[in-house]
């Protein structure tokens, strides 16, 4: 299957069990990520970004369940793998950098322990060799190897996040999923971590699924962007195209509140109203209550992704090719 894309997600559905029944947090999401590409996944908090990311490796904790779709990695369906296959797939093929590095590292284990155990588990190297490799990894992200003996609370937020990146690179996986890797950091450190990621991506030829709620960050990084709203993809396009000609009213709202990379930064607050309650999704388009362009059809019929230009998909009734 040499021609298969690195990652192809087809009609993925994820539900959480709640006291009022199962709730679809991710609804029929499909996208493709080619080798060497950086796919940006953008959306407000609660739109289902982390749920998509963790479903890819099936590491969502209870009460989550995947209720439909396929996740094809190099042509193999992750959703069909058994526990052994999954364990071998994880981290070797797909690694993660999680939002808050403070919580992504266990506070009672040393940095070294947490890098070494992944090497020992997957590569069956001796502890000594693993320790040397771990030291190299820290050097790669610009951290003194003596820090292997430190505990997470002894490092600054930026350093922890770089440790997280070093950890993600430990097995040279083809794909790294970065879930808001800089959100918990202040602006200067954020910049520092982002340039490190950019540098390593070039050097190592990584593919990245880059998740953020910050349009300005994703514009620097991503080759393509997918916009998520209430668990559904509402628009996908190459980054340039999306910034030049956004079509979905939600994307337009996001970009309207985004000034420029060089101008003052703003958070995604530009759209009035708030995301719908997933437990009581309205019939028709989930964005309708906040949409300035809604038509009659929007109240009854849910829009689906359609091709509206080359490599540009939008799910909106009023948008036509």
């Amino acid at each position: 299957m040499g021609s298969a894309p690195l990652l192809a997600v087809e009609e993925l559905v994820v539900a959480y069990q709640t006291p009022s029944g199962p709730v679809r947090a991710v609804d029929r999401v499909s996208f493709v990520l080619e080798r060497g590409e950086v796919l940006g996944l953008v959306g407000e908090s609660g739109s289902g970004k982390s749920t998509v990311a963790q479903a890819l490796a099936r590491i969502l904790a209870p009460p989550a369940m995947i209720t439909g779709g396929r996740v094809l990695f190099e042509g193999h369906d992750v959703l069909a793998m058994n526990e052994d296959e999954l364990r071998r797939f994880r981290w070797r093929k797909m690694s993660f950098v999680l939002q808050s590095a403070m919580n992504a590292l266990s506070p009672v284990l040393t940095i070294g322990d947490q890098i070494i155990d992944v090497l020992v588990t997957h590569e069956r190297t001796s502890k000594r060799v693993a320790r040397e490799r771990a030291a190299h990894l820290l050097e790669l992200v610009g951290i003194d190897p003596t820090r292997l003996a430190s505990h997470p609370h002894e490092l600054s937020g930026g350093m922890r996040q770089r440790v997280g990146i070093a950890l993600a690179l430990a097995l040279h996986p083809p794909l790294v999923v970065m879930d808001e890797p800089t959100t918990a950091l202040d602006v200067v450190v954020q910049h520092e971590v982002l340039s490190k990621i950019a540098e390593l991506k070039e050097k190592l030829g990584l593919s990245v699924l880059f998740i953020t709620h910050d349009m300005s960050i994703v514009s620097q990084f991503a080759t393509r962007i997918g916009v998520l709203y209430a668990g559904r993809l509402v628009e996908t396009a190459p980054t340039r195209e999306l910034f030049r000609a956004p079509r979905h009213p939600y994307t337009k709202g996001l970009l309207g509140s985004f000034v420029s990379i060089h101008g003052p930064r703003r958070k995604l607050v530009g759209i009035p109203g708030s995301p719908p309650d997933l437990r009581r999704l309205p019939a028709g388009c989930a964005f309708r209550a906040r949409c300035g362009e809604a038509a009659a059809q929007c109240a009854t019929e849910a829009p689906v992704l359609r091709v509206i230009a080359e490599d540009h998909h939008t799910a909106c009734h009023v948008v036509s090719p």
Binding site: Q17, G21, T67, L79
Partner: protein, 299 residues
């Protein structure tokens, strides 16, 4: 899966409690014998005449168990209420006022927590005149601190909530904030504090009386066990003098804990989500493993 219906655990717990309350309330009216009177040959096993047999003193065990319910539940609930009141007051004041007040009250609470309860209770009970009032004092003195600690922690987490901040901004007095804004907003925590305090009080009371502290002439669950053990119930094989009372204590304790579990689940619905999840998977023949399950519903 309605969230309004009473959870099964709570239903079981409340049903058991109901039975014992009824027993405490009307039991003495329907009890066949005077619980402290010599009514038959001692140490008879359960029979038609004596449903649960007779004690070493020739008393009717069933009548004693009923009488014990009244005395022990009354002391347990009154002590539980007192402990919750004191604990809530101390904890809420410490948490709301902060600063020196908090330091002093927290220190008092922690000191009180690390001093082992039973030995202190023994010393107190030995010096106080035997009786219900002394028993209550002893139970409350040794048991209030846990509640104070729990409630202080809860208040600290509530303090930053909007409605408290609003009250502070509008210049309400501190005590008004404690008793009008904070405590009414933590009924479920207060309820579970009351439950654990009552469980403690019933257990500690039984323990102290078993040691021979208190008024041994009154029929309670504790004195029942004291006399059973004094009359060498075990060596004579008279299990029926021990089992009804022990079982009653355990049933009441379990019922209270079940109610408290349900309170937790009601206030924290996410606790229940995972159980529902496991059940939903089981219904499809899936055993949860280490990875996110894939469930394909056709149709």
């Amino acid at each position: 899966m309605g969230s309004t219906k009473i959870p099964r655990k709570a239903a079981v717990g409340l049903a058991i409690l109901g039975v014992f309350f009824l027993m405490a309330l009307v039991g003495p009216l329907v009890a066949p014998y005077d619980p402290s009177a010599f009514v038959d040959i001692p140490l008879q096993p359960p029979s038609r005449a004596h449903l649960l047999g007779t004690t070493g003193q020739g008393q009717d065990v069933w009548s004693q168990t009923i009488a014990g319910a009244r005395a022990s539940l009354l002391v347990g609930f009154v002590a539980g209420l007192a402990m919750t009141t004191i604990g809530a007051t101390v904890g809420a004041i410490a948490g709301t006022f902060g600063g020196l007040v908090d330091d002093v009250l927290s220190l008092l609470t922690n000191v009180s927590l690390v001093i082992p309860g039973l030995p202190l209770a023994v010393v107190l009970a030995a010096y106080l005149p035997a009786g219900t009032r002394a028993l209550l004092v002893v139970l409350v003195a040794t048991g209030w601190a846990w509640n104070a600690r729990v409630i202080r922690a809860q208040v600290l987490s509530l303090r930053n909530k909007d409605f408290v901040a609003a009250a502070i901004v509008t210049g309400e007095s501190r005590l008004h904030i404690v008793f009008r804004e904070i405590l009414p907003n933590m009924t479920s925590v207060l309820a579970s504090c009351f439950i654990s305090a009552t469980v403690y009080a019933i257990g500690a009371q039984v323990g102290l009386e078993f040691l021979g502290l208190g008024d041994m002439s009154v029929v309670t669950w504790g004195t029942n066990l004291y006399w059973a053990s004094n009359d060498a119930a075990l060596l004579t094989g008279a299990w029926w003098t021990l089992v009804p009372t022990g079982l009653s204590v355990a049933l009441v304790g379990t019922a209270l804990v079940l109610v408290s579990f349900s309170l937790d689940e009601i206030t924290n619905p996410r606790l229940r989500a995972v159980s529902d999840w496991t059940r939903a998977l089981a219904a499809r023949g899936i055993r949860p493993g280490a990875s996110t399950p894939v469930v394909r519903d056709h149709g």
